[in-house]
């Protein structure tokens, strides 16, 4: 059995893990001293050599992203953390920032130093008040400790860090929409190129990294490339947070080497809900094509999941057992994408609206088999035809559910209604509470 490897989560069981004293007691803020003693290019090379890839969904190598920032260009550079965690099923960055905001701040200082940025932002979603408190307090305490502001640790490096609180828009998790939002506009994605590394915030070279990616950097600086690359698989190095939720006995956060399988995670955690069996699951949030019980042994790394027809995404493993209606699940996700479409691109704005209409009828047992082909046709006209990946995400659960559960759609039509009892899927019946 693959072993769990708590690194980011190692100190979360300390009651004061979120304070600067608690973080320092577990070795916090030692990596920043090491990094600031290095040449910034060496820090970039170190992160490149580690093979760390973005933990926010796309899996782009973090060190390469840093390396794209033009140096000696006499422009301001910006380092931006994407803490707008909103992908359905994804729940790792939020508890990380609640339990240990300082590891994120230490990563921000190191990353900003590496790309020569003197201004950094953490863009956090607005619906998590207590996490906002924790990060804000951590920033204030880091300033007081001389870890932010002028001449950090006496090394001549200056950094201002601002916490920017969003206001309820999933699309702002898309990096260019995030930048528009941070500039004070409606959060709508930009056409690329130019990429943020060339023209990002205020049209200046900008790095945008996910919380978990940035928070992984201090451990890499402290313990080295060989340690980090000893975990994971050939092209997916290191450890990561897997978030297990849904119809399982024990949901939660599990930090493990990349490449662990769902079967192993279920064995470690305590399995699917008692008396039930796995029906379908998402490997990385609702935007990644669903898997079934045929995929229990797929290595959960970037390549393994892609080879099996989905994406590792945010490693949000949402587990649904046989009591769950696939059409209801997919309709609800589709309603989410319709609501969160920013409206900029016509295929996404109009297409998600039509998808909801067709799926609503199907869930109610209305319509005909031709509607299933209509769904696929709509998806075909939405995917890859918009500025950002939201529309691709909207198509994923529909296409994959029709691939694995087409008959269940048809069963709705022959029954003239949804054949499932929604009560059976809730936690209330088995728990005896309502």
């Amino acid at each position: 059995m693959s072993k769990l490897t708590p690194v980011l989560s190692a100190n979360w069981d300390q009651a004061d893990s979120f304070t600067i004293d608690g973080y320092k007691r577990s070795g916090g803020y030692t990596a920043v001293a090491k990094a600031l003693a290095m040449n910034p290019d060496e820090v970039i090379q170190l992160v490149k050599d580690s093979g760390l890839r973005g933990r926010g969904g796309a899996g782009f190598p973090t060190g390469s992203k840093w390396g794209f920032i033009p140096q000696g260009d006499n422009k301001d550079h910006y380092f931006v953390v994407n803490a707008d965690e909103s992908e359905p099923g994804t729940c790792k960055d939020t508890p990380l920032m609640m339990a240990n905001p300082h590891v994120l701040i230490e990563g921000v200082i190191i990353g900003s130093y590496a790309i020569r940025a003197n201004y950094a932002f953490i863009y956090i979603r607005g619906e998590v008040t207590h996490v906002v408190r924790r990060v804000q307090q951590a920033i204030e305490d880091a300033y007081k400790a001389g870890l932010l502001g002028k001449n950090i640790l006496g090394k001549g490096f200056d950094l201002e860090l601002v916490l920017h609180v969003g206001a309820g828009a999933y699309i702002c998790g898309e990096e260019t929409a995030l930048l528009d939002s941070l500039e004070g506009f409606r959060g709508q994605p930009r056409l690329r190129p130019p990429f943020p590394a060339i023209a990002g915030l205020y049209a200046k070279p900008t790095v945008v990294n996910n919380v978990e990616s940035v928070a992984s950097v201090p451990a890499i600086v402290n313990q080295g490339v060989a340690w980090f690359t000893s975990m994971g698989t050939e092209k997916s190095k290191g450890f990561t947070l897997y978030s297990l939720s849904g119809h399982v006995n024990n949901p939660g956060q599990f930090e493990a080497p990349l490449g662990i399988t769902l079967r192993q995670l279920l064995e470690i955690s305590g399995g699917v809900r008692k008396g039930h069996k796995l029906k379908f699951w998402t490997p990385g949030g609702s935007s990644t094509p669903i898997f079934t019980d045929a995929h229990l042994d797929v290595p959960l790394d970037y390549e393994g999941v892609a080879a099996a027809g989905s994406m590792l995404g945010t490693k949000a493993l949402q587990i649904f057992d046989e009591t769950t209606c696939i059409v209801r699940a997919v309709l609800r996700w589709t309603e989410f994408y319709k609501h969160e479409s920013c409206g900029k691109c016509t295929p996404c704005r109009e297409g998600t609206w039509w998808l909801v209409q067709v799926l609503k009828d199907l869930e109610a047992g209305k319509g005909s088999e031709a509607d299933l082909d209509k769904l696929l046709d709509l998806c075909d006209n939405i995917m890859g035809r918009s500025f950002c990946a939201l529309a691709d995400g909207a198509a994923s659960p529909i296409i994959s559910s029709l691939k694995y559960f087409r008959q269940e759609y048809l069963d709705h039509l022959s029954a003239g209604a949804c054949p499932f009892d929604p009560m059976a899927a809730t936690l209330f019946e088995s728990a005896g509470v309502k």
Partner: protein
């Protein structure tokens, strides 16, 4: 309402955080909600003056984001997650039961102005499903009964504490100030993590 000199100077300090002042529009909108409870016309006009923007530009931003409200919400704004996972596990039942219990619809406010209800999307706490947020504080692992008790307590002026949050639930306006970046000094209250957050660590250490 009219803004005080002190409030206007706080707005100036918010603007001063940013290299370019337009970036302050979102915290300023949160701040207006902390004073007026929602985004008022007066608030939009003042933000426009401060940032040298037309009121239409400020309104365009305000209406894009669902957390900015164009009309008053309750002192306790209850968000019930009905995205797929929470919905399936009980969020749909909770949402229907609470609307019926309070006699209001989605986005409605009780006649005493104490409680409003909104169905929300995934709030990044799926390992604590079904999830309910009040003034954007976490209420984890909810049931129909627990949320009925929650809203009854809120209407009586005595809401239970959040599961992972400060010892006492603060009002919508008070929490809006936190979202504007104004500290209320409560960061150290509450747990560092709930049980599901710690489960992997516990298992790694050989625990049950």
């Amino acid at each position: 309402m009219a803004f005080t000199t002190e409030q206007i100077s706080i707005m100036d300090s918010i603007i001063a955080r940013y290299p370019r002042k337009r970036s302050a529009i979102m915290p300023l909108l949160h701040y207006v909600q902390s004073i007026d409870g929602y985004v008022t016309n007066e608030g939009i006009e003042l933000i426009g003056q401060k940032l040298e923007l037309a009121t239409a530009e400020v309104t365009a931003v305000s209406t894009f984001y669902t957390q900015y409200k164009s009309k008053p919400v309750g002192e306790y704004h209850v968000g019930i997650c009905t995205n797929t996972l929470c919905a399936v596990m009980g969020g749909d039942l909770i949402f229907d039961a609470v609307k019926e219990h309070l006699g209001i619809e989605n986005d409605g406010v009780t006649s005493d102005g104490k409680v409003s209800v909104e169905h929300i999307e995934c709030n990044a706490a799926c390992d604590y499903a079904p999830v309910v947020m009040v003034n954007w504080e976490f209420y984890d692992n909810q049931t129909v009964q627990s949320v009925k008790d929650l809203v009854d307590g809120a209407r009586a002026g005595n809401p239970p504490a959040p599961t992972r949050g400060p010892k006492t639930l603060r009002s919508w306006k008070q929490n809006s100030a936190v979202l504007a970046g104004i500290s209320d000094g409560l960061a150290n209250e509450g747990v560092q993590a709930g049980e599901p957050t710690l489960l992997g660590l516990k298992k790694a250490k050989g625990g049950a």
